[in-house]
Assembly symmetry: C2
Homo-oligomer: 340 residues x 2
Amino acid sequence: MNESSRRRPVTIKDLASELGVHPSTVSRVLHSEAEVARSAASAETARKVRELARKLGYSPHPQASGLRTGRTHLLGTIVPRLSDLVLAIMYEGVEEAAAELKYSAFVMNSRDDMEEQRRKTEIMLARRVDGLIFGDVHLDCPLMPELARRGVPFVLMNRRLRGFPSATCDDVLGGQLVADHLWDQGHRNVAVVAGEPYASTAVDRTSGFVDRWRALGGDIGQGAVVWSRFDTTGGREAVAAILRTARVLPTAVFAVNDFAAIGAMGALRSHGLTVGRDIAVVGFNDTPVAAQLPIPLSSVRSPMLEIGRAAVELLRRVLNHEPAESIRLKPVLQVRESSA
Amino acid sequence: MNESSRRRPVTIKDLASELGVHPSTVSRVLHSEAEVARSAASAETARKVRELARKLGYSPHPQASGLRTGRTHLLGTIVPRLSDLVLAIMYEGVEEAAAELKYSAFVMNSRDDMEEQRRKTEIMLARRVDGLIFGDVHLDCPLMPELARRGVPFVLMNRRLRGFPSATCDDVLGGQLVADHLWDQGHRNVAVVAGEPYASTAVDRTSGFVDRWRALGGDIGQGAVVWSRFDTTGGREAVAAILRTARVLPTAVFAVNDFAAIGAMGALRSHGLTVGRDIAVVGFNDTPVAAQLPIPLSSVRSPMLEIGRAAVELLRRVLNHEPAESIRLKPVLQVRESSA
DNA sequence: TCCCCTCACCCAATCGATTGGGTAAGGTGG
DNA sequence: CCACCTTACCCAATCGATTGGGTGAGGGGA
């Protein structure tokens, strides 16, 4: 049985007294940069320290070192909800990348509520996180300028906001790809399930689509763009509204989110339309479920994991006072039966 | 502008010197039980301390108090993957309930890999979490007995394992509900997409179904129970295998997970079958998407949020050395078009 | 031979909060 | 008047790691 199975964790002092050296020597050997470490102990001593540390299963006490150094190696992330698959995958990227930098990541849900966002932020700051990643900014978000004033290091993910570093998908391009695709397929009468108007994702995807559509010579009427929630229910309701008010039925629907697209497909079927034959549907994010649906869903693939990783990289730069330019990752359209 | 916007956080010492009292007095006023607090300072002093703390935005330094007390108020959770909606929702419950107890929760993904589970556990223990919640135990999980020997406080969630406290859905009952339902609908030839054989959820749901089916006088052949992954791809492959090998085509399929059920529906449609007319499908968990699918999916509703909350309550008891009986929450069957 | 330098360490303060053990002042009972 | 108790505090050690500043021994150069 390994010594690490004893109850009280091994401390630096244990190692030091065992070897007859001073705790500071042990600390420098185990934790300092190569140069400091070398000037702190002979090669032989250093070897013995490291060997004993391994044997006894020493692991540094983060509360103790955090107290002394003022850095916790903790990184807070706030998302609207983890049960949104898109954010869950981005967070997996955050966690991976954070671990590689020897940071531990934390998540909290804000339910896309700005009061909750503020509350959760304060909880994380009370935990003394070294930096924050926000996946839930609104286009008018008073908290961000305030945090910047207070000198809190943070970056944005998923959604962007002018003036702050963010890691996002190039959502405008994503919307353009869909416009090109549907235009090429011969559609001339389309509708957009546009998502929440306070989210840059929704706004950019919609405007990318609409602007390109008009540039191609297409026409998009008043009732053809419907703001909605991002989930299945939101998609269903939005399509119901479109079907109710449209003068002419659209032949294609672009939903800015896969789950909204699934809800849209449900509403269309209830209306007696067969998706892929009577009407085309395109989603966004290309979540794993899109390809596996009974009628496989065309979708814009966004690099969700990479966005999470990029957010961590951005935050690393902010923490090191390096320049941090926003990162916009390229999406790719996956055409499937729902629009082919 | 509030004083809390200054860079260096306010400490107990700041409050003490401002008021001309000793830091220990401030500490007792702000943090101790009522009795200790009252014997530490006069009502008047206590009032002044609390007022100044609020005015300056004092918030205790968790690293410092954690160092002294040995408790971090940190709670680690390990799940197979957060991008599994079921676990994401359970974790939302964990986070909520933890916050109510003034704990902060942490999650990590193990990808259902036992080596990874061990690695992530060690990372969390190195962070000095007060306790752990595992959402990813396998039926043969060597880590759990080992942690119990080491005296690490932990509980299980979602999946159970004999001998350890767990918060789960009553999966056996869930399987029974589906058997009763399909039998009542007149089905006599059924197949099961059974999930991963190392997960108690899969095993219990399957055995609950199969045992009840046989008790009703039904028959389930060899090839009718197919183990699979829990995701859409897993469901698709499992149904493909069933369709390939079955002597007689089943008239109903029970998938122990909604996403596997969605994959199953896809495979059935590819095979030219219309779900709800030619063949019934029932899923498990009643995730929000089930009701919104183009063909709404019957599913066993499991109280995922409550399971997460229950896990925290269990862990609270373990940490307080109170007896902790496993909790099994009751599921309810939601019948929809896919099996009606 | 003397001075200086390097090597390989040690010493002690420090981070912020907690907590067991005082202690001076004032009041009470005998 | 004195012993004793309560009230309202203060003092100092402690948790574990880090870090600026020593220091003694040994070696090399002038």
